[in-house]
């Protein structure tokens, strides 16, 4: 029983991190209709920026803020300098460019920050809460992770559903020509979409790094599971991304705890294939509406 509780709680906190990452993918998908494979590398990069600041003696929260801001700027810069020139061409071009960025960022990080493992501090305690005589695998930091993810999800829902900017972002992503005719500054919207997505990605990077070891490739696992989570949720729905993230986190934790840790990657693939066979557009998507 205790093991079940701990494996479940561990899965939930891991799942929250996958969800944060999936949210960034959903955001960029809704805002630009591109899948950004470089998301994880960019997040890793800003996490290292935070680590450098912390090592220089600044507080965790200053570094946290700087990394989010850094993500915002990095996203905008990448969109303007690298993605913009390929945006008019076939959709695949931009995706391939993001794959290139993924490799490039890791290489640059290894050059700048070294490729050894470093520990990354957490702002809250890392010992689990006590319930009666048991200690459960749920720490103050896990609570912070889940809280942040919920806040970001609600923020995104609000952005796309209730704000003018959100509507314009969706319009630009949906049909640039029409949006332009209606007076939307499409270029600005795309940049904004990238910037916001990179900031959310940075948050995911910081959340997974907290109380753990980081190195230039530490996001690789999260990237894969985050993608699975986003696709499970339907790529279009922030709520779906969070549910997908938590499901994947839980499922992988059970697989690892009860079947064996070597099966985790296989299980992620099996879940992805199974879900897509039953619901080809993900659990939460209403894809039919898009086929105008």
């Amino acid at each position: 029983m205790q093991q079940f509780v701990n494996v479940t709680l561990g899965g939930l906190s891991q799942g929250a991190i996958y969800a944060a990452f999936a949210l960034a993918l959903v955001l960029i998908w809704r805002a630009t209709r591109i899948i950004n494979f470089a998301q994880g590398s960019m997040a890793m990069f800003t996490t290292y920026v935070a680590l450098v600041l912390i090592e220089a003696g600044h507080s965790y929260w200053l570094a946290f803020g700087a990394a989010l801001l850094g993500g915002l700027v990095l996203g905008a810069v990448v969109e303007r300098l690298v993605i913009r020139p390929v945006e008019g061409g076939p959709a695949l071009n931009a995706v391939i460019v993001t794959l290139g960025l993924f490799v490039a960022f890791q290489a640059i990080a290894a050059l700048l920050f070294g490729s050894s493992f470093e520990s990354f501090p957490a702002p809250f305690g890392l010992s689990g809460f006590r319930v009666g005589e048991f200690t459960v695998a749920f720490t103050p930091f896990s609570a912070f992770v889940i809280g942040s993810v919920v806040v970001v999800m609600l923020g995104l829902v609000a952005l796309f559903r209730f704000t003018d900017v959100g509507l314009r972002m969706r319009a630009s992503a949906f049909n640039q020509e029409v949006a332009r005719l209606l007076g939307v500054r499409v270029g600005g919207m795309l940049t904004l979409g990238w910037a916001l997505a990179a900031a959310v990605g940075s948050l995911a990077g910081l959340l997974i790094a907290g109380g753990n070891l980081v190195h230039p490739a530490y996001m690789d696992g999260v990237i894969v599971y985050g993608f699975v989570a986003a696709v499970l949720g339907g790529l279009d729905s922030p709520g779906g991304a969070v549910v997908g993230g938590l499901l994947i986190g839980l499922a992988l934790s059970y697989v690892s705890g009860y079947l064996g840790s070597e099966l985790v990657t296989l299980a992620a693939l099996a879940i992805l294939v199974a879900v897509l066979l039953v619901r080809p557009h993900g659990l939460f998507s209403r894809a039919a509406e898009r086929r105008v």
Binding site: Q3, S115, E118, P121, A122, G125, V136, N212, G260, S261
Partner: protein, 445 residues
């Protein structure tokens, strides 16, 4: 699936081997004017130099600690070169990064053998990594000395005549740990935390030989998967109050972090390879906030040792390593147990090269090691088991408790062999280092 991969690998090896034959046939033709020396027909050796190579994880999950080993070996080779080399030859040492990924290992070892044309492999690191190149090195007749891993795979002289182990193998270490637990923690419920490959399997085999009935759970982690929460939770749920870990150092840090999260406080025993307190302390250092300070997290954990470490500053071997490091590596960082490991391995290689005589060939090096390897003495507490029938490395360890960055002895040095061999106390006095720090082994035969 394994079968398929293996078949593909065999095909690859065959293709590469064929290419090698071609390459070396061409190479021999072009090179003949350069080397007129007697035994210098083999690649990588000339009148005044001998080139050796190795693969190490300089990046990635196994890099912490292990990436420092080649810097130690390099420093010792430089020291020997500065003092005249071996039989007048300087030792050239090339090492490449495989990131602890067997696919990369195959590639970098190909480069070492075909492009750099090394004479011998010395100290290539890792069980999963090195097993990927075992066939390749042996079918190419490259001496594959002193693999930096305690797997039993390196001791198969029939099948892999060129490969030799070095450190005590994990089965021997597991047996000695198992016996210690049986005698000192007879009531303990034992959990095993194992890397899911030969490293964990060999250790488990050794431990089970003594405490099979005490083991309540065996959890395995896949290297690369850093979320080990479920594994540690399973050990805790099984009620294990003593956990033996056969894992690499970064997983020692992760297991401590995860245990902290679960408030799980068993008696930890880590195998020698995963237990360096300075390294684990550095990895965990930043989680301080008063709760975790430096190496205190490993204080009280039990591990094993087979040669004097960096903290034993009175030991003549440690003093030698410090002298070598200050002269030839100092600017790269502090002397550490990993660097000492590299230096000690380099020391053994110098002994082997001396034993191979003034005109060594690849086969001659292997033959010499089989003849006199069992008599070589160096920084290790125990001798090697080398002979014509055995390519196994050191025969034993002592059990110690980690205290700060050092350790205190819990048991005398014990030796044994694989399988049913008894564990006995080893009483021979440890050798002292030669005055000039360079071994003086007479040519064998």
């Amino acid at each position: 699936m394994t079968k398929w991969v293996r078949r593909r690998r065999t095909a690859l090896v065959a293709a590469v081997a064929a290419a090698t034959v071609l390459a070396s046939a061409c190479g021999a033709g072009g090179r003949s004017e350069g080397d007129s020396g007697g035994g210098a027909a083999d690649p990588g050796i000339t009148e005044d130099s001998v080139k050796v190579g190795a693969h190490f994880p300089l990046t990635g999950v196994a890099a912490p600690g292990y990436s420092a080993i080649p810097t130690g070996a390099k420093a010792y080779f430089d020291y020997v070169n500065a003092n005249g080399g071996v039989h007048g030859r300087t030792i050239e040492y090339v090492y490449r990064d495989d990131a602890y990924n067997p696919t990369n290992t195959s590639q970098v070892v190909n480069e070492l053998v075909l492009q750099d044309e090394i004479f011998a492999m010395v100290g290539g690191l890792g069980t999963p990594t090195h097993s990927a190149v075992l066939d390749f090195l042996n079918s190419n007749g490259v001496p594959d000395l002193f693999v930096s891993s305690g797997s039993l795979l390196w001791d198969q002289p029939e099948q892999n005549p060129m490969t030799f182990g070095w450190q005590p193998d994990y089965e021997v270490e597991g047996k000695i740990i198992g016996k210690y637990v049986k005698e000192n923690f007879p009531e303990a419920k034992v959990g095993l935390f194992l890397q899911d490959d030969d490293f964990g399997r060999d250790g488990e085999k050794g431990a089970r030989a003594y405490i099979d009935d005490q083991i309540v759970a065996a959890e395995r982690y896949a290297p690369g998967n850093t979320d080990i929460g479920p594994q540690i939770a399973a050990l805790q749920a099984a009620g294990a109050d003593l956990v033996i870990g056969f894992n690499v150092p970064s997983y020692t840090a992760l297991s401590q972090l995860t245990a902290l999260r679960l408030n799980y406080q068993p008696q930890w025993i880590y195998s020698n390879v995963g237990s360096d307190p300075a390294l684990v302390g550095a990895l965990l250092g930043r989680f301080s906030e008063g709760k975790v300070t430096d190496s205190s997290m490993l204080d009280g954990a039990i591990t094993t040792e087979y040669m004097p470490g960096v903290d034993e500053s009175d030991d003549p071997w440690t003093q030698l390593w410090r002298k070598v490091w200050d002269a030839h590596g100092g600017e790269e960082g502090e002397l550490s147990n990993y660097r000492i490991y590299g230096m000690a391995q380099a020391y053994t290689f110098v002994q082997a090269l001396q034993a191979a005589g003034p005109d060594p060939t690849r086969q001659g090096l292997v033959d010499a090691l089989e003849q006199v390897g069992g008599e070589l003495r160096g920084p290790a507490f125990v001798p090697f088991r080398y002979s014509a029938d055995s390519h196994a490395g050191m025969s034993g360890v002592k059990v110690v408790r980690i205290k700060g960055n050092g350790s205190e002895d819990l048991s005398p040095v014990q030796v044994t062999d694989n399988g049913d061999a008894e564990i006995t106390e080893y009483t021979e006095e440890q050798a002292t280092p030669p005055a000039n720090g360079i071994p003086d082994v007479q040519p064998a035969g």
